[in-house]
Symmetry: C2
Subunit: 432 residues, 2 copies
């Protein structure tokens, strides 16, 4: 199902897709705005919103009232249930659009991803001049709440909402990070396996080596490394639900002696390893803790070994989209490469290779969104309509963020600065 | 010839290698230090120097006098002509060792590259604790003298000392930047050609496209791109000697209509191009000008196209070795990746790929040093013994800097942030 061939009415959403009645806006029971002075004011407000967003290819309307926007060029129409909703979104589009959409006070006709792509692109054009000021503000507004207990709360908020929920749309690997598609037509599951192999080859894992993983999700990569590369893995995570899932999984696989899942913070990692790997954790580390993460990696590797950090990033420092930060990922922050350097530079860790895979994350997210839409009835059963819409917006917005270059995906390979045990070229990644 | 099977006496150096008499120190005509109280003091000074350098695997001695150091473990012996030289080097080893070596007041028994590697490694061990302070000092001491006229003076100092001189040891390509060795056994010339192809493939050049090159050296890459990739190139350089050489070369190749060499600063580049490339110029740009360089690249590319910057770098910010900065490369500064980010981040340029090729630069420099030593007679004829020694030390020190990880070599591929005309994977670099 397309992300945006969607209805607003909770009752309509509960019907199976095939028998679903035509979209009935949730706002339909509200009194229509009179097409009088009020409508002219609404139209003025809509035009203000359109301008504030940099004039995306989007039509804006108030239910049964005024409209404004791109007209024939539009990729989608956004309809506000009432003036109060419009005023709220106009006051803080980045925060209140998401809430109003989740609550059903905003409806979308057309493709949600295309709509959000257009909004991101227009924002980029409009925002270029403001970017220096924005960055100065960003420096003071970043969420720095990833203390040991703060991180635990933040991670619990997102990752402990239920393994069954994630199993509905992550595919069979339960890997909740950017996949690697050898070709754009690869399947999600194949691309997740290819990503793990890409990571293992970048780390040049050899049988008998030891690996420490910081932030192991549901344990997929650790299991893959032990099974296919013959290494021993200690994998850390502070999400209780994920650790429980991972432990059950490794026991079923008969590899419990090779993979140890540890419910603890990366800051408490001890020991010495041949490889340090962290896939999709850095987003939750917080800028202030980057030197600590680097120190942990350096301590784990000693004077040799290899490391890899895989993370969402940015072309330049900017705060995470505030609605996503508040509702979906508290404490998350995708860094620029200049910021990521703070992990490595204090410890003379040498960056050997950086690959930007942002279009692969867009593709991964498209696949997740498709599975999510297909499972939306079950999601609604587990939670409620608001949750369904909130996570739809998050997934669709993430697709748009990666297709428009608003977000990046960096894989960084590094080694202790004094080590010459580094690959001569990268050809080994591309030849079997 | 090995870099360090060398004599100190100018007269001895002028003899052909085969008939050369055994090393006769230049300091031999100085009165030997009496082995009395003076010798004990010299020994104390030598031990201070050894400690200051972090106790490298090196023996230190004063001519006909005291000695100290690694003893049986040493890779080389450094002999000071007299106490005055020793005191001078002790006062500021980083600056005065190079001068004393160049003047023949310091002689080396053993391999010069191994000696310098040991000194770099020991310095890394000793310097780790001081690094925060060092970085604070560095922030205030960086050479920021790359104004338009300052850059011209700095570039003239190094690159305009004579094309014939460089032709003696750069190999047939006259490429004065890190080569790319598909295998470690590749020849210098083959590796320089492979480097150019690696760059062109990273830029995904197609026939008929336009390329601008910032800092083109003797024009080798521009010529290669025009000849083998069918592109039109405008190549900028402020070294008059290099531009003259490049123009003569492109005329001989019958490609003058395809490559335009322009004697001007990168800051004056205008026009729109499919690709922006800069190989080995960033070292001379100066940190303060990084945003300007990025602005030039962004202006050249508009909303599309591809860029590549190839530069010596660092694992963390640090001043260039001060003797090299003063005697060899005034105004030069190899940045960390965190510092390089200042080129890209202000302009929403997206970093797609970074490759660290430092071991390739060590190999390139070994090849240059070998050719240089083979041509030392001719270099002495062009200049003098002091020049021969100065450049030997620079080349040997550069080998050591790259083998020990003191310096890095980064190739950074980038594109405008909004462009999706970016490669899906990097496999195309490794398959023909």
């Amino acid at each position: 199902m397309n992300a945006c061939e969607q209805s607003l009415a909770p009752e309509a959403q509960r019907a199976p897709a095939a028998t679903r009645p035509p979209p009935v806006p949730a706002a339909a029971d509200l009194p229509p705005q009179a097409l009088t002075h009020g409508s002219a004011f609404d139209r003025w407000l809509l035009m203000k919103l359109d301008a504030a967003l940099g004039s995306p290819q989007v039509d804006f309307a108030v239910r049964n009232g005024a409209h404004a926007g791109a007209g024939g060029d539009s990729v989608a129409r956004v309809t506000f249930a009432d003036r109060a909703t419009l005023l709220s979104v106009l006051a803080d589009p980045a925060m209140h659009f998401g809430d109003a959409y989740s609550d059903g006070r905003v409806s979308i006709d057309g493709d949600l991803v295309s709509l959000l792509e257009s909004v991101y692109r227009a924002g980029r054009r409009a925002g270029r001049r403001a970017s220096l000021l924005q960055r100065a503000i960003t420096a003071f507004r970043r969420p720095h709440i990833n203390t040991l207990s703060g991180s635990r709360d933040n991670i619990h908020h997102h990752y402990d909402i239920g393994n069954e929920f994630y199993a509905l749309w992550l595919g069979s690997t339960m890997a909740y990070t950017c996949a690697y598609y050898p070709t754009p037509s690869a399947s999600l599951d194949a691309a997740q396996v290819a990503k793990m192999d890409h990571v293992c080859r970048k780390l040049r894992l050899k049988a008998g080596e030891s690996v420490v993983e910081a932030g192991c999700g549901w344990g997929t990569l650790a299991l893959h490394m032990a099974r296919h590369y013959g290494v021993k893995v200690r994998a850390f995570n502070i999400s209780h639900e994920q650790i429980e899932f991972a432990r059950a999984r490794v026991a079923r696989a008969g590899l419990a002696g090779r993979v140890e899942y540890i419910e603890d913070d990366y800051r408490n990692i001890s020991g010495h390893y041949d490889a340090f790997v962290s896939v999709g954790m850095l987003e939750h580390v917080g800028l202030r803790n980057y030197p600590t993460l680097g120190q942990v990696a350096q301590r784990c590797l000693g004077g040799g070994g290899r490391g890899l950090i895989h993370s969402i990033g940015r072309n330049y420092p900017a705060r995470l989209q505030p609605w996503i930060e508040k509702r979906i990922f508290p404490g998350a922050y995708p860094p620029s490469l200049g910021e990521m350097a703070r992990i490595f530079e204090p410890w003379d860790l040498s960056i050997l290779d950086i690959e930007n895979l942002r279009l692969h994350y867009a593709q991964t997210l498209r696949h997740w969104l498709e599975l999510y839409e297909g499972a939306s009835e079950r999601v609604r059963g587990m939670f409620d309509e608001k949750f369904v819409r909130m996570w739809r917006l998050y997934l669709a917005g993430s697709v748009a963020a990666f297709t428009t270059g608003t977000l990046q995906l960096f894989q960084v390979v590094f080694a202790p600065g004094a080590s010459n045990d580094i690959p001569w070229t990268r050809a080994h990644l591309y030849t079997r």
